[in-house]
């Protein structure tokens, strides 16, 4: 096969398939924003340091500025545009609104995608850098404000809405837990 500098890829975004030809240098972030008009995902540093471009790839939070579009072929991608159920906001979106988890809003789509993953990672029993005892027998750590701050540390907010962001993530996690318990009961 002769070398080529572009490829056709199929991106499954928010449940909809998009097939497009991309220059291999295109990041997933630029494909979303510049090619597919999905501008909810924001470009901050473009070097994986700020978290503004966070999306979910196969359910896992990912900085889309360091993910090549060509390497995202056939992957399931969820952006902030795909979170609400019609007019009903995702519980994490609603919590950010209710508790003022932002000022300018630029980092917010990344914060929200990251928070959704944080709640899932915690529910799956993943420890964090502030978890005192990581051994499995210690059990999952409670999702304290300290745990939330550590787990959300990949998302910077220059308005420094951190206090309300932590509150919003805590409330959404509580609601998620209650809902899970009610479903189980």
């Amino acid at each position: 096969m002769a070398p080529s500098t572009s490829s056709s890829v199929t991106l499954n975004i928010n449940g909809e398939k998009h097939t497009l030809s991309v220059d291999h240098r295109t990041t997933l972030l630029d494909a979303l924003r510049e090619r597919l008009d999905l501008t909810g995902t924001k470009k901050g540093c473009d070097h994986g340091q700020c978290g503004a471009c966070t999306v979910l790839v196969d359910g896992r939070r990912t900085v889309s500025c360091l993910q090549l579009a060509v390497a995202s072929d056939e992957r399931e991608i969820t952006t902030v545009e795909g979170l609400a159920d019609g007019d009903r906001l995702h519980p994490v979106q609603q919590a950010f609104l209710d508790l003022d988890g932002f000022q300018c809003g630029y980092c917010t789509p990344g914060q929200i995608c990251s928070a959704i993953a944080v709640i899932e990672e915690h529910a799956a029993g993943w420890p964090s850098a502030v978890t005192e005892d990581v051994r499995p027998e210690a059990g999952p750590p409670p999702l304290t404000p300290e745990e939330i701050r550590e787990r959300m540390s990949g998302n910077l907010c220059r308005c420094s809405a951190y206090v309300q962001i932590v509150q919003a993530v805590a409330r959404a996690a509580d609601e998620n837990r209650t809902e899970t318990e009610e479903t189980a009961a």
Partner: protein, 330 residues
């Protein structure tokens, strides 16, 4: 960014062949370091061989005990694995101390070992750098070097290796397995990184074109009581200015066995053998912990602006070993 060819490898031999065919090719794992370096112009590959789809994403029991970690296992999956958290807790802690949740989901074990230094001169192509452009000089020696090496460096390069994971893997005698066009091979992590000397651009002993396939952790009962502590300039999501992976086995108040490795002090994760020699057989007290740190740091050659690291590492070693001793006493 230079234009490049992209290939997705289906199997290990295919990946090695695709790389072998082009001297300007690079393996692509999570891309968290490589893609960034391509944006900066530090890396200019003509081809990327994507290895994320290879069947190297599992953590399995190793022959003879221990664990065999596939090279494309993500940092997140490594840190969440019950066997790692239970038997090698310092490794889980080290991984969790690095980067962010997003980056840990993308980054791979093989890529972690091969990531490049974050020295600001290395990542800025407008500056001289012996590691990036051999023979061009090292501005860090007289420039910005507050987070540079105090151990094992040379007049040619004083950059530090940024990995947290590698520090714990070094403490636990991990072995790197790789594949080449000429067949497979193995390198203990102790021999994986080359001395800096006058060739800082040559970083590892991997043969050209080699693909890391696994990292094996030998059985190490001492690792069950282990810790990783990292000091950085903010509370989270920053590279270390000093870190320690330590394990202690204490019986009757005496150290029976110890493991100690340092991060962010050298061009590679630094195994503290001199300190371990002092510790083994010594009383498990702060006095001996400090003597052990001093034995290792006697070789330190700090620069004008990073002498604080000697004190920092001494205090960090005493603190971590004291915590482990207290944990044993409980």
């Amino acid at each position: 960014m230079r234009e490049f060819d992209y290939r997705r490898a289906d199997d290990v031999s295919g990946a090695v062949a695709l790389l072998d065919a082009d001297p300007d090719a690079r393996y692509l794992g999570g891309g968290t370091n490589l893609v960034d370096l391509m944006k900066n112009g530090v890396e200019r590959p003509a081809r990327l061989v994507d290895v994320r789809g290879l069947p190297l994403d599992r953590i399995e029991p190793a022959d003879g005990g221990g664990l065999r970690i596939g090279a494309t296992v993500t940092n997140s999956d490594l840190a969440a694995h019950p066997g790692i958290r239970g038997d090698y807790p310092a490794l889980a802690q080290a991984v969790l101390a690095g980067a962010s949740g997003q980056l840990r989901n993308m980054a791979t074990v093989g890529g972690n070992l091969l990531q490049r230094t974050r020295c600001g001169y290395f990542t800025d192509v407008t500056k001289p750098c012996n590691k990036r452009a051999p023979g061009s000089g090292c501005p860090a020696l007289e420039g910005e070097h507050h987070n540079h090496a105090i151990l094992g460096a040379s007049d040619h390069c004083v950059a530090v290796h940024p990995s947290d994971m590698g520090v714990a893997l070094t403490a636990f005698d991990a072995v790197v397995a790789y594949e080449t066009a000429d067949g497979p091979g193995e390198l203990p992590l102790a021999d994986f990184y080359l001395p800096v000397g006058d060739t800082p651009h040559r970083e590892t002993a991997l043969p050209p074109g080699a693909l890391i396939t696994h990292v094996t952790l030998p059985p190490a009962p001492v690792a069950a009581r282990s810790r990783y502590r990292k000091v950085r300039e903010r509370a989270s999501y920053a590279f270390a200015i000093g870190s320690v992976a330590a394990a202690l086995d204490i019986g009757g108040g005496v150290v029976r066995q110890s493991r100690l490795a340092f991060g962010a002090v050298a061009s590679r994760p630094w195994r503290a053998h001199a300190a371990e020699r002092v510790l083994n057989g010594a009383p498990a007290t702060a006095e001996y912990f400090a003597a052990a740190a001093d034995a290792e740091l006697a070789a330190a050659r700090p620069l004008p602006d990073n002498g604080y690291k000697v004190t920092l590492m001494r205090n960090l070693v005493v603190a971590v070993l004291s915590e482990l001793a207290e944990e044993t006493a409980r």
